[in-house]
Symmetry: C2
Subunit: 220 residues, 2 copies
C-alpha cells in the first residue's frame, strides 16, 4: 500500500487534518453553491418613478433596480427598460420623481409595476393625487410619505436597462414620518422591499443600532 | 358684501367645499415638508465590496450607495469615493465582489465602513476568510451567506462618488439560505439595511406577499 501523499499547499491543518486531503479542503473553501449569473442580491428598494408624458399626463412606474449613487451632488439612479412608457418621458423632459411608498400601498405599487401608462392612467386608477413639482417637470404622489424631485444628470446604456442618474433637488416628507432633527425615521416611513429571484415583498424590520458606531469596538 | 369668487381649477370639491378657498386647497397639495437636497431615501442595502490591492492583499469596504442596474447583462452598481483604498483596486483590476452580510455581522460590516485598507488588513482583523474568485481577480468573504462576483463594465464619474457598474458573472450562496427552486430566501439571508440621514441599521421584516401578483386585483 503506497504512502498517502499529503499536499495542503499553504494551509496549516494541524493534527486533526491527517485524514483530510486536498479535495476536502477545497470543498471547505468552495462550500457555497453557484447559482449562475442572476440578479440575486437580497433586498432592493421599491421606488415609484413619476413622469409626465408628451400630453402632460402624469405617469408612474415601479423601479427596483435603483439606489443612491453619489453624495455630492446628491444623486439616485433608476434603471428602466427602453420599452417602458416612462423611458421616453424621462429622456424628453430630463426629470423624474422618486416616490417611496409605505407598506399600506404595496398592492397599488405592485399594480404600478404590472400595468403600462400607455394603456391606463395609473394615478387615476390608484386614486393617487398628482402634485406638480415646482423644481422639475415631473409629478409626485401626494399620498406617499417620502418623495425626491430629480433632474436628469446622466444616461447610461447598459443593456436591457438604461440607467438614469438624477440629481436630488429636494426631498419632501410628510411631517408624521419625521423624527429627531427633522430626519425621517425608517419605522415611520414603513417602506417595503423587493426580493429579486423570489419576487416577493418584505417589510422593514427592527432597529439594530447606529452606523459608524457599532463597529468601533474593533478599533481597540 | 361682494360675492365670494370660487376658483378651484380642475378640482371638484362638492358642497362641503363652499367654505374652502384656493389657498386652503394649495396647502392641502403642499402639506409635505421640504427637507432640502439630501440623501434621504428610506432604506439602502449594505454591501461589502471585496478587492485585491497591488500587492494582492484582499481588502473590503462598505457600500450603501449601491443597487441593481440591469437585468441583461445582470449588473450591479456600487459607488465609491476616489479617496478610498478600494477605488484604485477596482480601477486597476476591473473586478470586485459584492458580499452581503447577515445581521450576525453588523458590527464587522460597520467596522469595514469605518477603517481604511491602507491602515489595516480588514479580513484579518474581522477574522474573515478570503476566498479567491475563480472568475474575477477579487476575493469574497467565506463567512457571508451571499456573494456576487463582478467584472467592471462601466465607470461613471458623478461627483464625490464614482459609480462602478459590474456584470455579475456568478452568484454564490450558502446552502442554508436556499429555499424552493434553489432561490435564496430573504428571511434566511437575514440581511440588514442602512438608513441614510438617520445613519442607523435595521433588520429585514415580515414577508408581505408575491410581487407581480398583489396588484392584480386592480386589473378587474
Amino acid at each position: 500500500m503506497p504512502a498517502v501523499k499529503l499536499d495542503f499547499g499553504p494551509h496549516d491543518i494541524g493534527c486533526a487534518g491527517i485524514a483530510m486531503n486536498k479535495e476536502a479542503l477545497k470543498e471547505e473553501a468552495d462550500m457555497k453553491k453557484s447559482l449562475g449569473a442572476k440578479i440575486i442580491v437580497g433586498a432592493t428598494p421599491v421606488w415609484i418613478v413619476g413622469t409626465y408624458d408628451t400630453a402632460g399626463k402624469p405617469n408612474l412606474m415601479a423601479a427596483a433596480w435603483a439606489g443612491v449613487c453619489c453624495s455630492d451632488p446628491p444623486c439616485v439612479a433608476v434603471s428602466l427598460r427602453k420599452a417602458t412608457y416612462s423611458y421616453g418621458n424621462i429622456v424628453r423632459h430630463g426629470a423624474f420623481t422618486v416616490n417611496i411608498p409605505s407598506a399600506d400601498y404595496v398592492k397599488e405599487a405592485d399594480y404600478v409595476g404590472i400595468a403600462s401608462g400607455r394603456d391606463v392612467d395609473k394615478f387615476a386608477k390608484m386614486k393617487f393625487t398628482p402634485i406638480k413639482s415646482d423644481l422639475v417637470y415631473a409629478p409626485y404622489i401626494q399620498e406617499f410619505p417620502l418623495v425626491l424631485e430629480c433632474k436628469l444628470l446622466h444616461t447610461i446604456e447598459i443593456g436591457l436597462h438604461t440607467q438614469f442618474i438624477g440629481e436630488i433637488l429636494d426631498v419632501k416628507a410628510e411631517e408624521a414620518i419625521l423624527g429627531e432633527k427633522q430626519i425621517p425615521q425608517l419605522e415611520k416611513i414603513n417602506q417595503f422591499l423587493f426580493s429579486p429571484g423570489a419576487r416577493t415583498y418584505y417589510k422593514i424590520g427592527d432597529y439594530i443600532g447606529k452606523a459608524f458606531s457599532l463597529g468601533k469596538e474593533f478599533e481597540k
